[in-house]
């Protein structure tokens, strides 16, 4: 059971002067219970790719297969594909429309034909999955803060009981604590068996949480590997739009002086190494003690 993308191409406005190839020959696989992050510069094709995963965009060439169902024009499975893959857009306010949070979250299950008696239970479980309590039910989604809107948007997608969750830059504009909460929510969903596909600019999150990271450059997939391998790649060859996060960049700079330094995104690990190293007699760092 997985999302399989094979040799996917997508071109906007084909045959016009505005023709733009957004996605070129991308392949990857993400199973249920796995977390794949997609990173790349702005305009690298991340959002275009995300919109292929639940049939909003259909492949021009290549294939997108969700749990064995192929996403293509006139596919009998499109409805089922859209139910299996929940998509949280770049701007949550774009997908909020109802008068109350309850109505907002009830929309998807009603759409899928869940009888009215079953709706409150789904709303309530989706709210709690997304880290909100029932007091939100009666409130207008438009009077919530950015972080709360984001959670309501996620709850409303979860209410459709998807097997995969695709999120397009869900942490943009969130304060640090909301960002941490959201990341731990995604981790929880992953452990409950959802496949998480996270489109992000936040390499820190991608490195910390993903099973694998797909790096895009001008519509092409250049690396699809574990966080550690991705850091090694970024250390040796620059990728447009992406920098190693600060801690990884610092550890990489230290490694050039001291090969025993770890290449890591974890500041605590780096701190341990610096402290141990500073305490060692032979360390050049010792000489810097004032």
């Amino acid at each position: 059971m997985s999302i399989i993308v094979e040799a996917l191409y997508h071109t906007y406005h084909p045959g016009t002067p505005l023709e733009t190839r957004a996605v070129e020959n991308i392949s990857f696989e993400c199973g249920r219970g796995e977390w794949l992050s997609v990173v790349g510069h702005t305009g690298s094709g991340k959002s275009t790719l995300a919109q292929h995963l639940n049939g909003i965009l259909l492949p021009e060439r290549g294939s997108v297969t969700i749990d064995g169902m192929e996403s293509r024009e006139k596919s009998p499975h499109l409805r089922e594909i859209r139910r299996s893959v929940g998509l949280v857009f770049q701007y949550p306010e774009q997908q909020l429309f109802a008068e109350s949070v309850f109505e907002e979250i009830a929309f998807a299950p009603r759409n899928w034909g869940v009888p009215e008696t079953g709706i409150p239970a789904i709303v309530s479980s989706s709210l709690s999955l997304a880290g909100l309590d029932e007091s939100y039910c009666a409130r207008s989604p438009f009077h919530l803060s950015g972080g709360e809107k984001r959670k309501v948007a996620i709850a409303s997608v979860l209410a459709g009981t998807p097997s995969y969750l695709v999120l397009d830059e869900p942490t943009a504009g969130l304060d640090s604590w909301s960002r941490k909460e959201l990341v731990s929510l995604l981790g929880r969903l992953k452990s409950e068996g959802l496949g998480i596909l996270l489109v992000t600019h936040d390499l820190d999150i991608a490195l910390q949480c993903s099973d694998s990271i797909l790096m895009l450059d001008h519509g092409r997939g250049i690396v699809n590997d574990t966080p550690q391998k991705v850091m090694e790649h970024l250390q040796s060859c620059p990728v447009p739009g992406l920098h190693l996060p600060e801690i990884a960049a610092l550890s990489s700079a230290l490694r050039r002086k001291e090969p025993s330094a770890p290449l890591t995104y974890d500041w605590k690990e780096l701190k341990r190494w610096i402290k141990n190293h500073a305490a060692t007699e032979a360390s050049p760092l010792t000489g810097r003690k004032s």
Partner: protein, 319 residues
């Protein structure tokens, strides 16, 4: 700090309550560009208009989005506005160019009260604004036309508009896309276009509401260096961000908590208050955490402000 410099914006005991909303803040629905095309539901119909349902006393049961905020933005400074989601940052920012006017208290820009509609044009020619969501402020169908909207509205001569637009698009890294329709831009490119539109207005003061939220790490770095250059050139900048690593070049930070100013001071002073970060909804970036703990636990010679280059230099300098 430039103590003798002029005051650009001044808020005195400003309290603001959104009309109709409960405690709500508005995350930027429907703002027009600088020209007062504000149509969002929770905004005044016209500058200076105080909604009828709010009497002179504050309505019961509504939490003000801002409470008793007194703040001065000085000429040439780069001020960071910090705080959690919903703390009032965007509401405060919208007071700085008269998109919102105080329910109580006063707000002036270069001495002009934002409550007087006659001042609105002059105020918006002095303070340009980049909103949180770039979709809300792109009005042109072609990139360069959109960037020209602000200066055109200001009545700038055409030749000058051309130069300004060119420079602004170059600074924002969009020069080669200047003939493209705006709908073909990606999210991050739209955000750069919003910044270019504000730069093209060439106002003495620039207010940016989370301008880096949709940018990739390199785009963020580039925007920050644009702001650095503008700041060195004497522009007054007020920027909102959730990322503390972006405020290292700022002169001053103001932390908002539930609509009130919880703290203000310089950047090293802010990092010295990390025990309050949780309460303020702030989070020390990993590099700052590393720096703070190494300073506390070792005698390594670390730089006064935790920049990456400073840390690399200090830790790699081998004897």
């Amino acid at each position: 700090m430039k103590t003798e410099s002029r005051t650009v914006c001044e808020l005195r005991d400003v309290t603001y309550v959104y009309p109709g909303g409960t405690s709500g803040r508005d995350s930027g629905k429907g703002q027009g560009k600088e020209s007062g095309g504000e149509t969002g539901r929770s905004s005044p119909e016209a500058p200076g208009h105080i909604p009828e349902e709010i009497p002179s006393g504050l309505p019961a049961g509504k939490r003000p989005a801002l409470s008793d905020v007194t703040l001065e933005v000085r000429e040439g400074e780069w001020l960071a506005l910090l705080g959690s989601n919903g703390s009032g940052k965007s509401t405060l920012a919208k007071h700085l160019n008269a998109l919102l006017t105080p329910t109580q208290g006063d707000c002036t820009v270069f001495g002009m009260s934002t409550k007087d509609p006659h001042n609105t044009f002059a105020i918006r020619s002095a303070v340009s604004m980049v909103f949180q969501n770039p979709e809300n402020q792109i009005v042109g169908t072609v990139v360069e036309e959109d960037a020209a909207f602000g200066p055109e509205n200001q009545g700038t001569p055409p030749e000058e508009i051309e130069t300004r637009v060119r420079n602004a698009l170059a600074a924002a890294g969009l020069l080669e896309k200047r003939k493209k329709p705006t709908y073909t831009l990606s999210g991050g490119e739209k955000q750069r276009l919003a910044v270019a539109g504000a730069l093209a207005m060439d106002t003495p003061c620039l207010v940016l509401d989370e301008p880096t939220a949709m940018l990739d790490p390199q785009g963020r770095h580039e925007l920050l260096s644009i702001l650095d250059t503008l700041h060195e050139g004497g522009k007054t900048i007020v920027s909102i961000t959730h990322r503390l690593e972006e405020i290292l070049s700022c002169d001053r930070a103001v932390v908002l908590l539930e609509g009130r100013i919880a703290w203000e001071g310089d950047i090293p002073g802010l990092f010295a208050r990390s025990e309050s970060f949780r309460k303020w909804g702030l989070d020390a970036p990993p590099l700052v955490s590393l720096w703070t703990e190494l300073r506390a636990e070792t005698q390594l010679p670390l730089p006064p402000v935790p920049t990456l280059s400073g840390m690399i230099e200090s830790l790699c300098r081998l004897s």
